[in-house]
Structures are given as structure tokens and as C-alpha cells.
Symmetry: C2
Subunit: 251 residues, 2 copies
């Protein structure tokens, strides 16, 4: 069975307080898509963060000494660095132009996922990630399930840079109603050997595919409908996808 | 426009010397898929490696002193470690059960991508990655283009583990006729700001989506047809996707 990723049309510029469930339902209707059991909706973090009012005005941020020092070393705005530090557990690496942190949510990313672009308004506004993306995904999923009567998944994704390879890829930062990992441990291969690959990052593979149709430029389409996810839906969470620090050779 | 990933049916167990182009054409016909301009075929490295005869018998491998030492430290077969070292530029990290290397092709991966599973035959056979996956992709692309008269892309993927996150994801290890990266540098966002994300790992996002439909277990389907890749096809290569060592904070 194929997997089909469809970017939804006519998603307006999202403002704080907007009801994403209603907006997605209207867009699905416009696209002529009737939700079916096991469909998944993938949302760019940006619209979830905006709807949840995660905009901060740099003019109102007071930088700590630590933020000022890191800002000087990385040639960044000390107020932005202050927010990065507030959103992070600790800094893994830094150099001019780049601060790689372990986010308070547990994943590793640049600048704590704080976003300058596609943020509208007077002043110097930046956008922080949702407070709890798993919970955000669950709310959106519950709303869509209630409206459709179908069993659905919902996922919030961001674009992350990577060690070793160039180019960002979409990754899951919050999920509800679908598995993060698929565990094949113990299953035999075609010839009865043990499989080399035993844990598939299924949610992240889905995130990458959805990211591909979202685009990142002016024409970005921040919601993607997915039909044909090849694994049974089950209750997953971001936590599954996080490699425990003690088993990570690259911290 | 949607992206559609379709795993192709009835791909037989591949043997050394098999003609993958003919096999893919027959499978496309059986699936009722007529190739169109800008379609992309994604192949699991395993079938390309097998077709190219990249099977090695551990019984015929003599281990060096270095391989024996690393094998003892990582609790692996010294003959397998010998092959890993031969296929690698250097070892980044090792610990019991795990050897992370910079492969001779330039990417970072575990065990130099050498595979025990789904390898048939007497003795202790293992499968090495293709000699030159870009060239393999180009041969397959050229064959499919000649047969169809269409402008196509072809990509060879493998499943890689990652720093910081659990679960493997599909990544490109060879490509022909499609871009590795999409460069958005200098493009404005919706409100005229500079984009935060400027280099999209498009080939790797495509690889992850294709990997999702391939599966890894006994029912694996090693060829995926993709329609709707959202960027213009152009000549890409693995090299684009490799982060230069000197700009990598995580070596």
C-alpha cells in the first residue's frame, strides 16, 4: 500500500489563540479529503507555537551574565541567547553563529528551536517551541477524532540539523496516537538471521517525508495529511525517540 | 501536489549479477505504474550490493593486529572488524557492541554499513556497501530512462542510527538525477525575514519517507517508486550531503 503525503491548502497565517482543529477541518474539506481510520495529520511546530502564543519580544528580555558571555562568543543577540538558555538543559557545543543545546524537552537542536523567521509584528519577536508538544499533538488529535469519529494520529515536527550530514530534516517533537519507534528486536530476517536494524525511527521517517511536502520558503504549507502509515497506530511519545544521555557516544 | 511512495511488488531475492533495471521494469509493469517525467526510484542498498557481488566470506578474511584489538574491545568478530576497518577512513567511537566509523565514502555510520542479515548461503557471508553508490544509482537511472524515455531520478539508501535520537532512519548513500540539498539561502520568508532553515536535506527526507514503506522485516520491499518530489530534478551526488569534517562539531 502506498503512503500519500498531501499538503493541505489555504491554511491562513496563524495568530495566538487560533483553533487549529477548526482550521485543519476546513482545509481538509476544501481539499476534498475525508478522514479515515489511521490517517495522520502532521503539523509544523511554527503554527502550533503561534496558536499557543509562544511569541516573545526580545525588547522585554533581560540577559543574564551567562547569556551575555555566550552571546559574545557566538556573535548572537544576548537577549536571544538568554531565551535559548532558558529553554535548554545545557549547551552541548557553541561557536560563532551556532549554539547546540539539549532542549528542556530532551532533544538536541540548534538555538533551542527558537525561530526568528515567519514571525510577524512590530518589535523583535521570536517564536519558542510549544510548552509540551506531546500534549499539543494530543489536543489536536482529540479534536480531529471527535469531529471525524475516526481513529487518528497527530504529530508536530520541526526541522533539525544533524551531526555529520548537511541539510536539515524534519523530525518529530511531539506525537499522539502513533508510535515513535517500531521495535523489531527478535524478529528473523528472510533467511532466519537476526535483523541488523531492530529499532526503526518510524515517527522521524514520517516527519521527514511530511517535511518534504511542507517546504520552507514563502509558499510553505504547514499541515500535511498522511494516509498509509505502514504500522499499526498506538500511543507514542517524544520520549521514545530520545537517546538516553548515558548511551549517547556523541554528547 | 501530494508525494506518493509506492513499494514495488514481486522483487525476487537478488543474486550477484542480476539486472536490477529489468527487475524494476517488470515490477513496475506488474504494479501498473507507467513511469512519468520526474519520478524517482529508491533502492535499498542491500539489493544493489548483492547485485554487484559485494558479498564476502568471513572464513577468507585474515585479521590484522589492529582489527583483533578493536574486536576484543568491542566484543565483535575480528574478521568482521577487519572488513569494517578496510571499508573505513577512521573510527570515531567504539565500545562493546558498537563501532562508529567514517566510511570510505565519507558518511558516518555503524560497522561501515556491513550487513549480516538477509544474506543467504553457506559459510559466514557478509554484505558490504556498493563500491560507488552514486555510480550505481546513475547506471540504474540511465537504464530506466532508456527503457521509459522519461527523465528520472534514482537513489540508493541505507538505514543509519543517529546521534542523540533512537531509531534508525533511511538516508541517501548514492543518488543520480535528483538534488541532495535544496539551498534556500537568501530567500525571504512570509514577512520578508531571512529564513532560519536555509539548506534542506531533501534527498535524506526522501530517503526517510521511502524507508518507511520498505520495512525491515521478512516482508521487506527493497524498491520504492516516488511520484511528486516537490523540487526540480537536477544532478546531485552523495558529496553534497556530507558535512565537512572541519565544520562538524560532533566528530
Amino acid at each position: 500500500m502506498p503512503i500519500i503525503f498531501t499538503s493541505l491548502p489555504a491554511i491562513p497565517i496563524i495568530q495566538s489563540g487560533d483553533d487549529l482543529v477548526s482550521i485543519i477541518l476546513a482545509s481538509l474539506q476544501q481539499a476534498g479529503i475525508n478522514l479515515l481510520d489511521a490517517d495522520i495529520l502532521v503539523l509544523a511546530q511554527k503554527i502550533v507555537s503561534k496558536a499557543e502564543g509562544r511569541l516573545f519580544n526580545l525588547a522585554q528580555v533581560t540577559s543574564s551574565e551567562a547569556a551575555k558571555q555566550l552571546a559574545a562568543a557566538t556573535e548572537k543577540d544576548p537577549r536571544l541567547v538568554e531565551l535559548i538558555l532558558r529553554e535548554s538543559r545545557h549547551v552541548l557545543r557553541s561557536r560563532p553563529g551556532s549554539i547546540i543545546v539539549e532542549h528542556r524537552l530532551g532533544f538536541v537542536c540548534a538555538s533551542a528551536g527558537i525561530d526568528h523567521s515567519n514571525v510577524q509584528g512590530e518589535g523583535e519577536w521570536v517564536l519558542l517551541l510549544p510548552e509540551n508538544p506531546d500534549a499539543s499533538a494530543q489536543r489536536i488529535r482529540a479534536g480531529l477524532e471527535e469531529a471525524s469519529g475516526k481513529r487518528l494520529g497527530a504529530m508536530i515536527i520541526d526541522s533539525h540539523g544533524r551531526a555529520w550530514r548537511l541539510g536539515t530534516v524534519g523530525v518529530a517533537i511531539g506525537l499522539a496516537g502513533l508510535p515513535g519507534l517500531i521495535d523489531l528486536r527478535g524478529q528473523p530476517d528472510l533467511f532466519g538471521y537476526t535483523l541488523r536494524i531492530t529499532l526503526i525511527g518510524a515517527a522521524d521517517e514520517l516527519a521527514a517525508g511530511a517535511s518534504l511536502v511542507m517546504g520552507q520558503a514563502a509558499e510553505g504549507t504547514p499541515v500535511v495529511h498522511v494516509r498509509g502509515f505502514p504500522y499499526p497506530l498506538s500511543d507514542g511519545s517524544l520520549q521514545e525517540l530520545l537517546r538516553p544521555r548515558e548511551s549517547d557516544l556523541f554528547r
